[in-house]
């Protein structure tokens, strides 16, 4: 099957920042993204878990965005402006997609 080169960007970020990040992604012209839940994790700011959480201030999500390689730089700039001061991880992988016209 015919596939095309693309980039998969995975941004792990606090839930409270989700809307700000996705707005920034829209601004950078990406055509789509998906949000996945994160149950818990560990990083420089310690360990946390979602179980029984009632505070709106905690909890992470993962925003996955598959995009055309040409749009990657704009996307990273936009995302980084949001993530910069906040906890979170940005990770980019090469990937192949079908239906390239979508990205």
């Amino acid at each position: 099957m015919q596939t095309h080169k693309a980039k998969r960007v995975e941004i792990t970020i606090e839930k409270v920042m989700e809307r700000r990040l996705t707005e920034a992604l829209k601004g950078a012209g990406v055509t789509g993204w998906s949000v996945l839940p994160v149950l818990g994790g560990f990083g420089r700011s310690g360990q946390w878990s979602r179980e029984g959480q009632i505070s709106r201030g905690t909890g992470l999500v993962q925003v996955v965005c598959i995009t055309h390689p040409d749009k990657l730089d704009g996307l990273l700039d936009a995302a980084f402006a949001v993530v910069e001061k906040h906890i979170g991880v940005v990770c980019v992988t090469d990937c192949d997609v079908v239906r390239a016209e979508r990205f």
Binding site: V16, M17, R20, S45, G46, R50, G52, I54, S55, T58
Partner: protein, 321 residues
């Protein structure tokens, strides 16, 4: 007074909290699913708001309603300044962290309020129904004070244009005030229809919710290493300072015994819902472990076990109620 304290400590709701606390400290895997905890919190907010509204519709709007709202807002603005001063004196934490913590103590903990209401209704002591609205009004002003404290220092707070809408329309405020309005509109008739949902099982749901709060507080305590000794002292002294301010305001306003006690509870309690979310957005450099641990693992248990009966005894003595 001792009897009251013992009664409170040995009530199912406090013991449920203690059970959760113990389980978390012993590192049991007991846990309440996030969705269930959120569901119970929706239930509690809806029920407490609704009952407050019904009580307002029963007794009419008290002349002191407006004054109490204003007093609540002023307390919410002012208490962070007190807290900030205390923290800078007692603890070695950074200016930014101290300001973020201070914001939490100006705002309120709705579960502490709910637990106090349930102690009042057990004891058959009436209170002003509109205290629910006062609780909602006290959630946000403290955030402004915290941000002002931060911006006065070298730190910077990032108030995106959307943050205010988010704070003022956060789910718990909207639900509390909305249910209050529904209760006020539908009155006793409305309550009759849903009393067997929002009145009868209330204390039981509160038990399970406090079980979960205990689990969270216990997990927090295991990380209490982020707090220095001064910070821990603050977590116990500040509620007493807040309660004193609330007491003064309540007596000045001429509230009922129950009303004075609830205003003390609101002033003494620290937010763990609205304020942490705002701080994460606006002041990401402040360490969330510090303010969440203080609010959930020190002050909440203190208020639940010692504070509530103490505030009630003081309010009873000073109002002659």
């Amino acid at each position: 007074m001792l009897q009251l304290a013992a009664d409170n400590l040995l009530s199912p709701i406090v013991l449920s909290f203690v059970l959760g606390l113990g389980a978390a400290l012993a590192r049991s895997d007991l846990s309440v699913p996030e969705a269930v905890a959120k569901g119970m919190s929706i239930y509690l907010l809806f029920a407490i708001g609704f009952k407050g509204g019904v009580s307002v519709s029963d007794h009419g709007i008290d002349v002191t309603l407006g004054a109490t709202l204003v007093a609540g807002i002023l307390l919410s603005f002012a208490l962070p300044l007190v807290a900030f001063g205390m923290l800078r004196a007692l603890s070695g934490m950074s200016r930014t962290d101290a300001a973020a913590v201070a914001g939490h103590y100006g705002s309120i903990s709705i579960v502490t309020f709910v637990a106090a209401s349930s102690v009042l209704s057990d004891a058959g002591i009436a209170s002003e129904g509109y205290m629910v609205a006062v609780a909602a009004a006290m959630e946000a002003p403290a955030i402004l004070s915290a941000l002002w404290l931060i911006s006065r220092g070298q730190g910077s707070a990032d108030m995106g244009s959307d943050l205010w809408r988010e704070i003022l329309l956060n789910g718990s405020i909207v639900l509390l005030l909305g249910a209050f309005a529904i209760g006020a509109i539908t009155g006793q008739d409305g309550l009759d229809k849903i009393a067997s949902f929002i009145v009868n099982p209330f204390q039981g749901v509160l038990c399970l919710f406090l079980l979960d709060m205990g689990l969270i507080a216990g997990r927090g305590l295991r990380e209490a290493g982020v707090l220095d000794r001064g910070a821990i002292g603050f977590g116990i002294l500040m509620p007493l300072a807040g309660a004193s301010a609330g007491l003064a305001a309540g007596l000045l306003l001429g509230l009922s015994t129950g009303g004075v006690m609830l205003l003390m509870v609101l002033s003494a309690s620290a937010s763990y819902i609205a304020v942490p979310a705002a701080m994460r957005v606006a002041v990401p450099q402040a360490n969330p472990s510090i303010y969440l641990t203080l609010s959930l693992a020190i002050t909440f248990p203190f208020n639940l076990t010692v504070g509530i009966p103490l505030y009630l005894a003081v309010a009873q003595t000073l109002t002659g109620g």
